[in-house]
Symmetry: C2
Subunit: 240 residues, 2 copies
Amino acid sequence: MSGGEQPIQRPGGLPAIIARRLRASIADGRFEPGEQLPTQAVLGEMYGVSRSVIREAISLLKSDGLVISHQGLGQFVNPEGSSVFRLDADLGDGENLSELIEFLVSVESAAAGYAAQRRTDRDLAAINGALRALARAVDAREDGVSEDVAFHRAILKATHNEYFIDFGDFLENRVRGFIRKARTNTARQAESLMAEVQQEHEAIEAAIAAGNAEAARLASQRHLLNAAQRLRIYLADQLT
Amino acid sequence: MSGGEQPIQRPGGLPAIIARRLRASIADGRFEPGEQLPTQAVLGEMYGVSRSVIREAISLLKSDGLVISHQGLGQFVNPEGSSVFRLDADLGDGENLSELIEFLVSVESAAAGYAAQRRTDRDLAAINGALRALARAVDAREDGVSEDVAFHRAILKATHNEYFIDFGDFLENRVRGFIRKARTNTARQAESLMAEVQQEHEAIEAAIAAGNAEAARLASQRHLLNAAQRLRIYLADQLT
DNA sequence: CGGTTATGTTTGTATGATAATCTGATCCAC
DNA sequence: GTGGATCAGATTATCATACAAACATAACCG
């Protein structure tokens, strides 16, 4: 999967390497919170790279809120600690896939619960419309990817919570897209699989329509866990 | 709160501005997925800045996985979409505080549930030890901050899931630290408040010890929601 | 026709210079 | 002396330029 036909993927260049080292140094306490970092010129000497590289590395740490720099003053380790939670899904290696799925399920199912409590009639109509469109697509022997996306997005939208919606976009781009690719590649049992998926979808929709948060959580949880299971089977087949 | 005694916080410099614009352009579809971006030299002309600035901006997008660059080839919009979920908590504005808390509660309570299912005896001992240490600190009229941190961290550790642990660190740095500051600043009712918090902690610990995932989820949920409520009261008082 | 070699383009890195901004010391007036 | 303005130094921010490395394509040759 990783490292195939595409041009080789380097660790990210010198700036990324330096950034990693600096991050480690901060984490290890070699630079304490609030402490002033060496100047860019000095850091350049320390690591044997030019100031441009140091600047890019620092820039990355700044975007994570780990470092704060003031013109004329210097650069400091943010005493508040990193201000962002960064979830980078390196799917496909299968290493910590289970752990990641667990985390994803927690969020997704919670979102479904909130959606059940908050969905307006308009939300419900959108969810229902997406579900029926998906059914039509499956009947027409299409893949129904865009309809699947619309369905899940409609649910997240019904939470009326920006954070869940953003998280859903991430989930969509990285994980569900991956799952879908796996699914279409194992087109053998596509028929029964599609029916299974559709059934899970309908369970979610019914719970949300009924305003039953607990049921929505469970149904959503089951759906994603099943998808993960199907993905695992696919990955196992790949290794033969 | 924001913009007080510290040196004024600029929007982040030219690179951050350019990065925002590029991000917007990609989101708006002005640059389609997989499409090649203009060269750094051209982008520099377009925005009227030097190539260094463009490089730093692109570097930020690359760290989000939104852009991929190949030496000698050019820079491309990642067709897979962003590979990271970025949760930056701009707490203190109170704007979408409720939404954020909702998201945090979802994750934290799920973690408590997993902890209840998986905790080893050693985990349980760590949690219990932290809880008793916290009680001692409160009795001794100390703030007990470090003990509080240790308690929550021990729980997250008991999930044996790296993602929850990382998330806990973020939560700790940004949110709980903020809550704690609010709490100590309203030291008037500290006595009854501490007792209330301790009671909530004990409920979580008991559920985890009993291996009751559902109870652990609920207890954790209640604890964080109450903390958020206490925070809201504090913030409201501030506005007088 | 197939493989090899130029060639041009683009990103990566280095280097040096200038502008902007902040701290701390210095200086001057009163 | 004290308070405020001014200056010097340090440091980041930005710019400009040059060279190295990697890649695609076209030209070339056997």
